[in-house]
Amino acid sequence: MAFYFGLLQTIGIHTLLGLSAYVLLLTGQLSLAQVGFFAIGAYVSGILTVIFEYHIVPGLFAGALAGGAFAFLVGFPALRVKGLMLVVATIAFSEIVRLFFFNLNWRVMVNGVEVGPDSTQGFREIRFYAANGWDTFDVVLFIWLFVIVVMAMLWWLDRVRAGATLRAVGADELAAQSSGVNIVAVKVTAMTVGGVIAGLAGGLYAHSATYVDHLTFSVLLATFAVAYPILGGLSSVFGTLIAVIFVQGILIEGMRFLGDWRNILFGLLIIVAMNFRPSGLLDGNVLSRIRRMIGHGKPDGGGRHA
């Protein structure tokens, strides 16, 4: 059972990470900086609960705010560039963050034990859950509470004017600008919201893993973060969730029996999926079919295309 709880935690955290990239992808920005905000959230909330002995909730909020603040600051310069340049600029940002934490050494004595980030040795003993007697099931509930809240907010966002504005910028920047949309404001807002979600995910990750080091926050994780929404499709927030379950649950855990060959097959399966479903597993067509099945279908299909 513990194994499935662990898997549920991973799926929850990766869904949040994927959603943080999803918000930016809606505006047409492919950002690999999410892992940088994720790292900032992980370290900030970890430092607060371990060194300053805060409760986890303010710790997580501080991590999310820090992620959002950095996203806001990075948003202005980074969003001057587009497409491939943005990809590389955001990789550079994530690597700067990673190398900063690689060099960060802040050891203090708390209750007779030396704790804190220890540069190359990583940040060990983030033991809030264990110290307060939460078992794995409590942790799963705690993580999924945040996942559900974030997904509900993004789902709601798609039903109001703000969501339409985001998608308008993603669909055609020039047309959106001509219709009076302030592109810079929209992009920086999307970046900030993405940073908050990624920072939150980072805090949750640090506490459920109890140990983080700079290697966790590699470009590999950044690519996973953008791969989930791309694989799942941008038509709905549920696409990201489905992609995470597909990748983490089926491709990674389900194929563990293949041993070393798993990664080789894993790559090919994703390429096959991208080839057959270029706009994601859950694209506009599937979505409208599902809506019709539940009985909410509009006669015209109602599928929006990303």
């Binding site: 492919l30 310069p77 980074a78 001057r80 560039v81 587009k82 497409g83 491939l84 340049m85 990809v87 590389v88 600029a89 990789i91 550079a92 940002f93 690597e95 700067i96 190398l99 900063f100 690689f102 060099n103 470009v219 590999l220 690519t223 953008v226 791969a227 791309i230 070393d260 060959w261 990664n263 080789i264 894993f266 790559g267 090919l268 994703i270 390429i271 991208m274 080839n275 270029p278």
Partner: protein, 299 residues
Amino acid sequence: MVDFIQTTIDGLSIGSAYSLIALGFTLVFGVMRRINLSYGPSIMLGAFAGTWIFVTLDAQPWLVAAVTVAGTVAVGVYVERVCFWAIRRDAAIASMVSSFVIWMQLEEVATILLPGRTYPFPELFRTGGVEIGPYFFRMEYVTTLTVAILVLVMLRLLLFKTRFGLALRAVSENPAAAAYMGIRPGRVIFRAFVLASLIGGIAGYLLLAADQQVTPYFGLWATFKGLIAMMLGGMGSIPGAVVGGLILGVIESQTQWYLGNAYKDLSSYLVLFMVLVLRPGGLLGQGIAEREAQAFRRI
């Protein structure tokens, strides 16, 4: 002052190998407007083939070099077929994500082929060096610099004196117009890929021979160095790739000397971020606005 000039010289030598990797990226980007993230890992796998014959058969250094280059080209062809030929048309993001997952595949193959972490890599000449005045030139740096210059001269001749070079430049200027002139873009892209892998294999051999060891992380490292160097100089510009590689090499060796090893990578990413933000086309990017618009339309 002597220190400064000596570190600059070392930086330029390493930088010339970075330039070669950046050239590989630029060639592929030039003809396809896409980035091949698996470029570094394919060099790494080629180098693993080289070290494999070195470890098991105790091969001569020149044979190792040949196998490294041939292996890189073979892997490059595989990557082109799977990630770029199979995903043509407008799905640039799909092919970039694909080239990334192929990367994981290549790393896995390398660890299955040779399960240890680090393997020795033979140098071309016995270590030694040339001393001119107060300056010392390491032998492998001299080799790197010489080979890099040779490759550059030959590439220049190939691009500007042959029919293939003309076709390649035509496709990179405008693929549709090139197709109307009777050039097959698919074939030119394939050959550009082979050419890029060839240059990458040479650069990989030079870098690894200077380090005398190879690890599976070399793929990641090479992809990053090449990307940074290309972006610094300007995407799709050949002089830009050369200048970008040299600048990157000098920045790295200077920060390593004056600030310490920890800041080496940090400073190069910082410089990259600043250049991309302040001058998005890179330092030598030509027709920045137009190229950027084109890259944006395709991604």
